[in-house]
């Protein structure tokens, strides 16, 4: 036990004694690990956000299908849908995008009583009358909107809205840039009557397949699309992860540069190290003890590097809102108003990055050290 402690302390001292090398290896580790940890944290955050928004949502989503894309669905079948056995609620929505001055906002038109529970007002009230809207907090902050302020959207200048409330939502990506208004107002804004972008259907558990058959009977001559929660979830995630592939490619490049750098840096001062090992062996150190010392050095340096990388990633995400890296995960980030980047730092990726760092530094040092500690001290001390 004492022996291992002694070696651990000596390993620490050795890292301090070879400061330049320690710093270089640490920097390489940070360069490799930070983007990795940040990327994982963002994609975990996005995943969680989409789960929240989907879980809080309906059981089935009904739209028309045009050119293989979701398209608007007429309201004339709404009453028939509501009558299907097992359907508890059928809520038509309009979800669209429009410019408020130079900022793109997500417009949600939904009747007041159908507002999702995940939307809670922070100030003001829910819209009651025509042309009243509730605005997401980031958007409100950007335009310095106050209760009672009036504005119009670029697509329908003559329609003037009045701000009656501001809301926050659990789902920060969505909530931040949204404008909620009544279904009717949204229809007028986009100039479409008697259609919804989708109908949300809430059902009793276990009835989805029968409902699907009934929906088929209603829409048999139309091209429609009925999606359940899982499919919507996939769809949402796909939207977010659009550019993940590009990120991976870039990461592979930086990785391909960083790894050799680490290997080279770990090998710095190898001839001095060799001599040292020779002296140690001549004065009675066992091969295993030499290797233990070197492994401990790598363990410490990986721990140091990984910890700094994790701290930097947290700073990157929380302090700089994922500048540069976030755009790989949230496709239209430049077109969205500013919002708080969702990110989750889970223990497993952090642990993984630590092991990864250890592996890298070990690969860089152990083979040469093992060779050194098994050759005759006479040769090493030359």
């Amino acid at each position: 036990m004492n022996r291992h402690l002694n070696l651990l302390f000596l390993a620490t001292e050795n890292l301090l004694r070879h400061k330049a090398k320690t710093v270089v290896v640490c920097l390489c580790l940070i360069a490799i690990l930070s983007p990795f940890i940040t990327a994982i944290a963002i994609s975990e955050g996005v995943r969680e956000q989409s789960l929240i928004s989907v879980n809080a949502g309906a059981d089935l989503y009904l739209t028309y299908d045009e050119f293989g894309r979701n398209s608007a669905i007429p309201l004339k079948y709404l009453d028939e849908i509501k009558k299907i056995f097992g359907v508890t609620k059928a809520i038509p929505r309009i979800i669209g995008r429009g410019f408020l001055q130079n900022k793109l906002a997500v417009i949600v038109g939904i009747d007041k009583e159908d507002l999702p529970v995940s939307v809670s007002c922070i100030s003001g009230r829910i819209f009651d009358n025509a042309n009243e809207v509730v605005v997401g907090h980031e958007l409100a902050k950007h335009f310095r909107l106050n209760l009672g302020d009036q504005f119009s959207m670029r697509c329908q200048q003559r329609k003037v809205f009045t701000v009656v409330g501001f809301f926050s939502s659990d789902s920060s990506i969505w909530g931040a840039s949204m404008i909620f208004m009544s279904f009717r107002d949204a229809g007028e804004l986009f100039g479409k009557q008697d259609v919804a972008t989708d109908i949300q259907i809430y059902t009793l558990p276990g009835h989805n397949s029968e409902i699907a058959t009934d929906v088929y009977d209603i829409f048999q001559h139309e091209a429609y699309r009925l999606q359940d929660k899982q499919m919507v979830e996939l769809y949402v995630k796909k939207g977010f992860m659009l550019k993940e592939g590009i990120f991976s490619a870039l990461y592979v490049v930086s990785f391909a540069l960083g790894v050799p750098a680490i290997l080279v840096a770990s090998g710095f001062g190898l001839s001095e190290r060799k001599r040292e090992i020779g002296i140690m062996k001549a004065t009675g150190w066992q091969t295993l003890e030499v290797l233990e010392l070197i492994s401990m050095e790598q363990l410490l340096i990986s721990f140091l590097g990984a910890t700094i990388a994790i701290v930097l990633s947290i700073l990157w995400v929380k302090g700089f809102n994922g500048t540069f890296i976030a755009q790989f995960f949230i496709a239209e980030i430049t077109m969205l108003p500013k919002f708080t980047l969702p990110a989750r730092f889970l223990p497993l990726p952090c642990l993984l990055s630590f092991f990864f760092a250890f592996l890298l530094t070990m690969v860089g040092s152990v083979y040469s050290s093992w060779r050194a500690s098994t050759t005759s001290p006479v040769v090493l001390m030359k």
């Binding site: 036990m1 022996r3 002296i279 140690m280 062996k281 004065t283 009675g284 006479v378």
Partner: protein, 220 residues
């Protein structure tokens, strides 16, 4: 105590010929003796001492220590032997750079699980005996050659070895320190240590019990 039988070490230089560093060495070194190996440069003194001190392996022949043949020992067994019985002093000191004197002296104690305080105390005692009590915290870069060699001697003594092997311990240092070092080694001999020295320094022959003259890898 140490005995060699037909000890040979050769280095194959190219496929055509090989260099015989030492050839057919048969010596017996009794316990608690002061033995000096003398001879011109390249005569094989270092090679012989390294092999007897288990730092190197012979190409042929046998080495016996306390009557036991150690040639077939594993690297682990040889390292243990060095730790328990043998201390080395080298011509160019071989101190670890950027470590202080006392850390260098105490370095062999680290893997033995000896705590910081005891390591420091033992190193301090030895360094004081070497007249370096005021140089405990100096790194080897801050010491003169003679001081470095005395640190190296303290390190060789830290494990209380029964054998001290010194390869030209005085050839890189001034005359005054050389005298000190000769006296130190002699004092160690008085305390029961067996001492093997390779040297050009004729003064060593005065304190030696036995002098082996080497030439072209053989003992004359």
């Amino acid at each position: 105590m140490i005995r060699t039988e037909h000890l040979c070490k050769s280095y194959s230089h190219s496929s055509q010929y090989e260099i015989r560093a030492i050839y057919d060495i048969n010596v017996t070194i009794p316990k608690n003796s002061f033995v000096v190996f003398n001879g011109p440069s390249g005569s094989g003194k270092t090679t012989l001492l390294n092999i007897m001190g288990t730092l190197d392996r012979p190409t042929a022949g046998k080495v016996f220590l306390y009557g036991e043949e150690i040639t077939p020992f594993s690297d682990i067994a040889l390292a243990r032997l060095r730790r328990e019985k043998i201390g080395f002093i080298f011509q160019d000191f071989h101190l670890i750079p950027r470590l202080t004197s006392w850390e260098n002296v105490a370095y062999p104690l680290v893997p033995r699980g000896i705590g910081y305080k005891e390591r420091f105390e033992r190193a301090r005692l030895l360094l004081e005996k070497m007249g370096l009590g005021d140089r405990l915290d100096h790194t080897s870069e801050e010491l003169s050659g003679g001081q470095q060699q005395r640190v190296a001697i303290a390190r060789a003594l830290i494990n209380n070895p029964e054998i001290i092997i010194a390869d030209e311990p005085t050839s890189n240092i001034d005359e005054e320190t050389s005298v000190q070092i000769r006296e130190l080694l002699d004092e160690l001999k008085v305390r029961g240590v067996t001492i093997l020295v390779a040297t050009h320094d004729a003064m060593f022959e005065k304190v030696a019990d036995v002098v082996f003259k080497m030439k072209n890898g053989r003992i004359e």
